[in-house]
Each structure stands twice: as C-alpha cells, then as structure tokens.
Symmetry: C2
Subunit: 318 residues, 2 copies
Amino acid sequence: MITRLAALALTIATPVIADPLPSWTDTDTKAAIIGFVEAVTDPASPDYVTPADRIATFDNDGNLWAEQPVYFQLTYAIERLQEQAEADPSILTSDTLRAAAEGDMEGMLAGGTEGLMEVLAVSHSGMSVEAFQADVSDWLDTATHPTTGMLYGDMIYQPMLELLRYLRDEDFQTWIVSGGGVHFVRAFAEDAYGIPPEQVLGSATPTEFDEETNEIMKLPGIAFVDDKAGKPVGIDSRIGRRPIFASGNSDGDFQMLAYTMAGDGPRFAMLLHHTDAEREFAYDRDSHVGGLERGLDEGPDRGWVIVDMASDWSRIWP
Amino acid sequence: MITRLAALALTIATPVIADPLPSWTDTDTKAAIIGFVEAVTDPASPDYVTPADRIATFDNDGNLWAEQPVYFQLTYAIERLQEQAEADPSILTSDTLRAAAEGDMEGMLAGGTEGLMEVLAVSHSGMSVEAFQADVSDWLDTATHPTTGMLYGDMIYQPMLELLRYLRDEDFQTWIVSGGGVHFVRAFAEDAYGIPPEQVLGSATPTEFDEETNEIMKLPGIAFVDDKAGKPVGIDSRIGRRPIFASGNSDGDFQMLAYTMAGDGPRFAMLLHHTDAEREFAYDRDSHVGGLERGLDEGPDRGWVIVDMASDWSRIWP
C-alpha cells in the first residue's frame, strides 16, 4: 500500500511532460524557443505577456512549406495561364506572358519581378474569389512537385506544424504574413496549418464588389505587396499590434523581424536557413527565390535565432 | 425532505435564464435576434453554423456609438488641425482647410467628401501610429459632446454592448467594419466594446515602415475607403469569410448587408433607425451624416430587420 501510494505521489510530482516539439533535435535552438514560450506564459515570470498580446507571425513560402525550384503559386499561375491562352491566345500581350505560356522559365524570369506580377495579374483575375479558391484547392489535390513527386500540399514542414500548435496551445495567435497571394494561401492554410482565413495576410490583387451577384471579383493588377517593408505595414494594417514572435526564412522577412524585435519586453525572431540538400533544398545568398543574405549577416548580432534545417530538424515532412 | 428535494429538482429543471439583451424591449426585433442566434448555435438545428463561421460585422458610427452632429473623428481632426495651424499656419493650403481651422463648419462641408478627406489627411499624418493612437486616447479622456455634455467615449449604445457580448458568449467573432479610420477606432474599441485591434477594419491613410525607428508612420492621403462597396471588399480582404450577421445604420452599410445576406444558409441583417430625438437623435433620409434612405426602402423586402431605437431600446447609454 505504501509502495502504491509512493508510486502515485511520484507520478503526481513528476508527470511526464510531452515534448511539444518532437521533430526538433535537442539543440540550443529548441531550448531557446521553449525557454521564450515558458517565460512569456508563466504569470510569475518578469517576462510574462498577456494572451491578447501573444501575436506570432510566420512567413509561408520556404518557412511553412517549400519554395523550390520556384514559388508553388507561380507554378499554379503558369498552368492556368497556359489553359487560358489555349482558349484565347490574344491574352499573351508581352514577351514575358508568351514565355510563361510556353513554359520557358528563363524567358519568363527575364521579365524580373514586374514580369512575375504580370503573370499573376493575368492568371488570377476575372473571376470571383470563391471560384479562384475552389480552383486552387482542386489544383492542390492533384498537382505534384517536379523533383520530389509529392503533392505540393504535402510539402509542409512537420517541425513548423509542431511549433504552430505549441504556440496556439500556449494561447498565441499564429498569423501567416506571406509575400504570396492572400487568396491563394487562404485556400489551404486552414487544412494545412490550422490557420483560419482571418489570420492570413498576403499580397493582393485589387478586388471589387459586384452588386449584381454579391460576389467579390478579382481584378488585374497588384493592390498590395506583402514583402520586405510591406510586411510590417501589413501587420499594422491587419493585426494592429506589434508581434512578439516572428519567423521567416528570407531577406523578404527582414523588416518583419526587425519590427517585431524593436518593441518593449521579451521578443523572439527566427530565420530558417535551408541547409539540407539531401532531405529538402540548400540555398541562401544567391538563390533566385528565398534569398537570405542580410539576415545571415546581421541576424545573429540582432539576437535572431538562425535555425539550421539539417541539424535542428529530425524530420522535414509530416 | 421530499419538499427540499422537489424544490431542488425544480431549480434544476427550470433554471432562470438571464435575459441576454436586458436593454432591448420585448418586441419582434429582440425575438428575431434571439431566434437567429439560438437557431445557428443549436447543434440539433438544421440552421446550425460551426463557431468558425459565426462572423458578425458591425458598423461603428451611429451603430455602436453616436455620430451627430458630425462624426466624432471629424471633431477630433478639426481640433488637431487648429493646433497644428497655430504652430504652422502654412499647412492651411485650401479654402476647406482654412474653414476647418476657423471652425466654420459650413465652409468646411462645402468642400464635400474630398474636403473632409483633406482635413483628415492633414491632421492624421506625419506621426507614428503609436503616437496617433495615444493622442486619440488622450482626447477621448476629456473631450465632451457639444449638446449632451457627455464624454464622447461614453456615447456608446448599451443595447449594442449587450448584443456584442451575447454574440461573443455564443462563440461569434464580433468585427467592426467602420467608415471611420482604422487607427482611430482601434484606439478605443477594446476598452469601449471589448473588440481587439485585429478585429477592427476601417478606412485608412497610407503608412510606411520607418527602418530607422522601426515604427509605422502615417502618411497624408487616403489608402482605403471602408464605406459602401468598400465594406464587402474590406471584409474579403481582412476576414476572408462572408459574415452571417451584419449590423449597420446607414446607406454606407447597404452593400455589407447585401453581401452578408447573399450567402447560403441562415443570415441576419439589421439596420438601426435613429428615431429617438428625445434620448438620442432622430434622422434618416436627409441627414448629412448617417443618411438612411435605400435601406429603409429596400431593407424590409430583403428580410432585413429595422431596429426602431425609440421603441426597441429601453435605454440608450451605459
């Protein structure tokens, strides 16, 4: 009896705490994340932050899911452009659009950012938001990645899913702040990450309200670019509070991290460094997507945590 | 003993249900609101809606707080413009701005909507969002209404506070979708209505991220007008779901209500009709603020509930 009581007492005194981040190896990175979360959620801690202010923001491409060899949304856009051009070749009004429709990546990329925006503008407009998102969902159900052969929607990072869930379990709001299109990301963010549409910010086409159909229609053009200095602007516009936690992987996230860290009190910023050519991809300074240079140079001195995918993650995919 | 048990059983069987809307009189309006909420929250109801889709949107001026004789934000803007002009008269570059600085309402209103936007643009820019919101808070702590003598921040509607709380208790998200400035409304929405900044949409000045100070700066001009057809556009952009409940009071809310009601399944739209000259204000078709004409003409046929302030509300202020 005494033994049973003692065993019971021991069970109560030292409960087995489940590891909230099982796909993260036991490195300083994991310890830093958990240490931060415990400090801001412990009411007895000097670093305690009320739940309402526990805003965490995440980049999407290359941070929650993969982004090589090109942003998945661009692959989608090119396929849709090709279909549209088959029905009506007259929509191909520039060299960039013609290159995209022919699958000539080099020719398309020669148009620079403006060229990419043109491809998105033509392929993502002239339909309702609802119809667009249904189409994105359909595409994600079947389209596969050129080198891994996986469904794009399966190329999300298991360690980041665990981090999102861990933060939400600790009463953080987890927001996506993506350079990708807001309507595109919302089409899968809830299924993929458990993040509802109202917590997804992104770049955006202009839209208008059609008073005949009561639908929101997507128009050609770019209304907002949620990248670089656009990220803190978007966060202020949509969230209205400075995050206390920010996670990105490229220099497009630099300003979001700087904005996050400049507030008072405890703060956490991390950059995912793609170092794992074997299990995922390895790229940084010279990459044409997800380039990371200034973050590597300045991040550590600013107290930002650099996550080394190869050593900090024990697995990549769910 | 039997008596005590019976009494206990009776207590359990017929608990006293607190009235969720005590400042609403027992009219068809109140019954319609409660009937809708009960239908969409009862899992056994054919009209059941999952909590995630329980999005409710509210106009602010004239709907959650008063808006006569002019929008309170405009009063704030004029006072700030006067202060700025004392320090630097050269900012008064137009007849509208000069009229505003002299307190000449008629002269200012002669500039139309563009004139008002000019007053807002000049008085609401050149500072950080944080500094702006601190100033709005200070103003609301002391500024009083010209006819009631009340603090502006006290001129919020008790029946609407009860409705907001009732909806939140039933797992609705309550959003503000205001024609007023998003930074202005956020400065008091949490204290006044229990609505956090991330659930406030509004009109907006352009902003930019200052990489030296890591602050968001307000710039002159207008980036978004969250009124009329802008309301559904803003809702799509920020929330990404069609609301199931919408509440407004002017023709500026017409498209928000139409958008809300055009979705599938159970829907609720209401328009607050200002009919109470004695306790608040009475105005509709010809009012220079909060004009309500099309809503009165078409609303009832569309199934929208018209709230009669004089008869549906037993009290106005908290």
